[in-house]
């Protein structure tokens, strides 16, 4: 084991390999607030990569209803329970000002064991704590769809309107969009006893070498997000490949420029923005939309950072869900992120417009100021909306998209209305 820095945890942690960050890191921001669980992303993935025999149960992209849903069923409950270790590992965070650091520990300091450290502490026969889900658990990818959680029964909570008031709804659910996190410290990679899994230096995409894989299912066992899957037909494991031919710019549509993954580009709810993070987390580029959302504005948060794999899919948490649940899921950065999202800054409003406007990966954005169009108060905070223009550029500097904060509308003239 070596010591590596995990900025999600704000500390160094144990990992079997040396810290070796890619030059760029494949990443995405999912705005949970916007998702309607139409599963278009899921089908885009399915029809591209896993429509063949032995892959029927595989959903490299899935959208599940939290808190009850999960694919494989109860994946997060089970991992959290393993990590909880009968209370010996309470997974606490220190979040005082002195435990935080702008770049190295933006959320504070995690004081618990990660999946790697707990496996070591307990002397387990694996690199990371984990389990292999059985057939039943893989069977229902969308179980408990739209099932709300409530401390009380419908009768007790009274009218629905009363139990659903911000900031926290008493009866709630939200959708969680999940793909492989292409972690900086992948547990699947660490678990593979024959180094069949590798992380690409150029874009941080984690892949299983189908020539080296021998179907030991160590990755299936130890990936905490359960995104390595065994294919009985070929006797080896497969996982999300981040549509790497598109990321490399091999698709003719974007003329050689990097292109968003299929599940990202298919999102009709405009919840997803896919791009590359700057490899060095200590030097984020304030003009890169991914870096800005994640490192600088900190409005998008990692999924279960306490696992310790430094996942690279980031989420804007849902505004209405109980904070304690969200803190468990996205770490202690939740309150700050929600504050920023509920009363968005001028820049955030502009950057949010970039979501799903182009298939080309944007590596830079510029904002042109516009006039003030709206003013309001949200949760006691003043919100001002300016009709700024945001411009997105591809990595080669080409302008790919130019949108305004206020969606342009057009009214047909009266004559036209009469004709019809």
């Amino acid at each position: 084991m070596t010591l590596v820095h995990n900025w999600h945890l704000g500390r160094t942690m144990e990992y079997p390999y040396f810290e070796s960050r890619p030059e760029h890191q494949f990443a995405a921001v999912f705005n949970i607030n916007r998702c309607i669980a139409c599963q278009t992303c899921t089908m885009a993935h399915k029809s591209t990569w896993t429509y063949s025999k032995g892959q029927e149960y595989m959903w490299w992209n899935n959208v599940e209803t939290k808190p009850y849903g999960g694919y494989p069923q109860h994946w997060d409950h089970k991992i959290l329970q393993l990590l909880w270790d009968n209370g010996n590992n309470p997974m606490e965070w220190y979040t005082s000002a002195k435990d935080k650091d702008e770049t190295k520990a933006p959320y504070g300091l995690y004081n618990g064991d990660t999946i790697f450290e707990l496996a070591r502490t307990k002397g387990l026969n694996q690199v990371a704590v984990g389990y292999i889900p059985d057939d039943k658990e893989w069977r229902f990818p969308n179980i408990y769809e739209d099932t709300a959680a409530s401390e009380k029964t419908n009768y007790e909570t009274g009218p629905a309107a009363e139990s659903s008031e911000l900031p926290e709804h008493k009866r709630w659910f939200f959708y969680l969009q999940r793909i492989c996190n292409h972690c900086t410290y992948p547990a699947c990679l660490a678990a593979c006893p024959r180094k069949a899994i590798y992380k690409r230096k150029e874009d941080g995409i984690v892949l299983i070498d189908q020539k080296r894989c021998r179907g030991y299912r160590k990755c299936v066992e130890q990936c905490p997000y359960k995104k390595s899957m065994y294919r009985g037909e070929t006797r080896m494991s497969e996982k999300c490949i981040a549509c790497y031919p598109r990321v490399e710019g091999k698709d003719p549509v974007t003329k050689g420029r990097r292109m968003e993954a299929r599940c990202m580009a298919a999102c009709v709810g405009k919840i997803r923005l896919n791009g590359l993070l700057t490899g060095d987390y200590r030097k984020p580029d304030p003009k890169n939309p991914m870096d800005w959302l994640i490192h600088i504005h900190k409005v998008a948060l990692p999924l279960y950072p306490q696992f310790g794999t430094e996942p690279n899919i980031y989420y804007i948490p849902p505004r209405w869900a109980p904070r304690s649940y969200l803190r468990q899921m996205f770490g202690p950065g939740v309150d700050e992120a929600l504050d920023k999202y509920a009363s968005p800054s001028r820049t955030l409003l502009a950057v949010l417009q970039l979501f799903r406007t182009t298939q080309t990966m944007l590596s830079r954005f510029e904002i042109e100021d516009g006039e003030k169009i709206f003013e309001s108060e949200v949760m006691g905070k003043k919100v001002e909306v300016y009709n700024d223009t945001v411009i997105g550029f591809a990595s080669d500097g080409t302008e790919m998209v130019r949108v305004k904060v206020e969606e342009p509308t057009w009214e047909s003239d009266e004559k036209r209305m009469i004709t019809y």
């Binding site: 070596t2 429509y51 025999k53 029927e56 080896m236």
Partner: protein
């Protein structure tokens, strides 16, 4: 001047401390594998003698009956991470050759027959024979040869018999498929006279959409024509299937016992294959995987110490 000197000394001092820390092995060593013990490099005194018996494959069972059995005690593999195995305590091996082909007859107790690895938590039974690739006259603490699947510059040749490959030798199409494990995978209530017709694309897309098949992995292929994989390794995690497969085998399970015969020509044209010459002696090692216990890779029952292997001259 003094300030500069002080700054320099602090800088070099801290670098020195950092170097000491780095070299202490805290950060360099993976720390999960056991150190090599003296015992690992001391072969047992008794070993297996491969008799000369002039018969072919048809007479192999009878010939193996005539050969002297050699029993190897197996133990949990706890040298390399991930550890495991140990559920099979003993394996019995016999050997003979007919001047052209060498045969090994292997028997071990296994209450459960696991000859499929299609479902998520389904693992197969298997047995492995390991030989130093080049002729090794002596293994001792002075002249070590790692029993941990060889070492850099000291490759081994591994013959790996797999229960699922054995089964697939005798099934239609030379391979078991998803639908063999999950007969109702497409429809729970099969009113359809030709269910495959409606899933034609699913079936036809397999060669295109299966990484394992397009990568040419033997594990994914149909009609392998053999139940033993011919492999090389230079240490744990380096196991690699050979381009040229030369080893054959047959196996059967009855009454809680596997009975496997593995055979290969004494000499092959492949330079990655161990060469056997009548009259020579070398060493071998064995491992058994018990599928029901989740054995795979390093989770296996192993013999650890090298065993001498003598090959009788042709009479």
């Amino acid at each position: 001047m003094m300030k500069c000197l002080l700054r320099k000394s602090v800088f070099f001092g801290s670098t020195l401390v950092a170097l000491v820390f780095l070299c202490s092995g805290v950060t360099f060593s993976q720390g999960l594998d056991k150190e090599v013990s003296m015992e690992e490099n001391i072969p047992t005194s008794e070993g297996l003698t491969v008799k000369y018996i002039a018969t072919d494959l048809n007479g192999a069972d009878r010939a193996l009956g005539q050969a002297d059995p050699y029993k190897l005690e197996l133990q949990i593999q706890d040298l390399a991470f991930p550890n495991g195995g140990g559920s099979v305590q003993e394996v019995e091996v016999r050997g003979f050759h007919n001047g052209e082909t060498i045969f090994f007859g292997i028997k071990w107790n296994d209450a459960s027959k696991n000859d499929r690895a299609i479902a998520h938590a389904q693992f197969k039974d298997a047995v492995g024979l390991m030989f130093p690739l080049e002729t090794v006259k002596e293994i001792s603490p002075e002249k070590p040869f790692s029993p941990r699947m060889g070492d850099r510059g000291k490759p081994v040749n591994i013959w790996h018999w797999k229960a699922d490959w054995e089964k697939e030798l005798n099934v239609d199409g030379g391979k078991e498929h998803m639908e063999d494990e999950y007969p109702n995978m497409f429809t729970d209530f099969d009113f359809n006279p030709d269910p495959i017709h409606f899933h034609k694309e699913t079936y036809e897309s397999v060669p295109l959409m299966a990484g394992g098949i397009s990568a040419g992995s033997l594990l994914s292929q149909a009609n392998r024509g053999r139940s033993v994989e011919d492999l090389n390794a230079v240490g744990f995690g380096t196991l690699t299937s050979q381009e040229h497969q030369d080893v054959n085998g047959k196996g059967s399970w009855s009454n809680g016992k596997w009975d496997v015969v593995i055979y290969r020509p004494l000499e092959t044209s492949d330079e990655n294959d161990v060469k056997f010459v009548p009259g020579m002696s070398t060493f071998f090692n064995m491992a058994v995987w018990n599928g029901i216990e989740g054995d795979r890779n390093g989770q296996k029952s192993v013999s650890i110490r090298w065993r001498p292997l003598k090959i009788e001259t042709v009479k």
